[in-house]
């Protein structure tokens, strides 16, 4: 039986990043969509999508930290695909992005943390999955 309260561990750091990026991307998208919508609507909507992805990623990692890894296995790949797709589009379709989005140039405006974050999450998830069967076995 997995513990219902999240254990201490590296997931706490991941959760802090995801909470901060939900806030940063969400607030940025809200301000830009409301005050300068016509400047770069595609970029601003993609920022909003990034915010939703980070919120879902936060939930996914929280669930994975107590043993329910299913959602995180999907969500972290979705996030990685999102960063890579938007990052590549921002380089090859410059005219779609008159203003930057959160994932433009693979997250250059955020020190490339958006590109590193899903990879770090997947590494953590991989280790988490290796540990869980051992723990479940020990509890029995």
């Amino acid at each position: 039986m997995p513990d219902s309260t999240p254990r201490s561990g590296p997931h706490k750091v991941l959760l802090t990043f995801y909470a901060l990026f939900t806030l940063a991307a969400g607030a940025r998208a809200a301000v830009q969509l409301l005050t300068q919508y016509d400047d770069a609507p595609v970029a601003y909507w993609l920022s909003a999508a990034a915010a939703v992805t980070y919120a879902a990623g936060w939930v996914a990692i929280r669930r994975a930290s107590v043993g329910h890894t299913g959602f995180a296995s999907v969500m972290l790949w979705v996030e990685l695909a999102g960063v890579l797709t938007v990052g590549t589009l921002s380089l090859v379709q410059r005219h779609w992005f008159p203003d930057a989005s959160v994932w433009s140039d693979y997250g250059i405006g955020y020190g490339f943390v958006p590109a590193v974050l899903p990879i770090a999450g997947l590494v953590w998830l991989h280790r988490q999955k290796q540990q869980e069967p051992a723990r479940a076995g020990a509890d029995r």
Partner: protein
């Protein structure tokens, strides 16, 4: 950014940004040493929070006195974030003094340092 040094509000913002960066570095070292989170690190965080509250009050004061930041909505957003980030981060590790809880402090302090710099940038007009 060098204009920031000409006003007390700008100086306060730079001190907050610098101290936040220091807290982030210290917390990173503590994390790397893999020891339980020491209470003095918490004290450093709360001193930083105090600085940020003073900065926020001073900022609201300037705005009430008729000074307007160049990017109003973004600036107010950063002002709120500057005050809220550390208490929420500390709440999430309140009952966790493990090694990784210092990593949470590192990330939160780093975020606050960036927010402080952005506060200065969105204030604009030579602060």
């Amino acid at each position: 950014m060098q204009d920031a040094l000409h006003t007390s509000l700008g100086q306060l913002t730079l001190v907050a940004a610098g101290y936040a960066a220091l807290v982030a570095v210290v917390a990173l070292v503590v994390t790397a040493r893999r020891v339980p989170r020491p209470t003095w690190l918490d004290h450093m965080v709360w001193i930083l929070e105090l600085l940020l509250v003073v900065r926020a009050v001073a900022g609201v004061g300037s705005m009430l006195n008729g000074q307007r930041p160049e990017e109003m909505s973004a600036h107010v957003g950063y002002l709120v974030a500057a005050v809220c980030v550390l208490p929420i981060a500390m709440q999430s590790i309140a009952e966790d003094r493990g090694t990784w809880s210092s990593g949470v402090v590192t990330v939160a302090a780093l975020a606050v340092a960036v927010v402080a710099v952005r506060l200065q940038m969105t204030w604009g007009h030579g602060a």
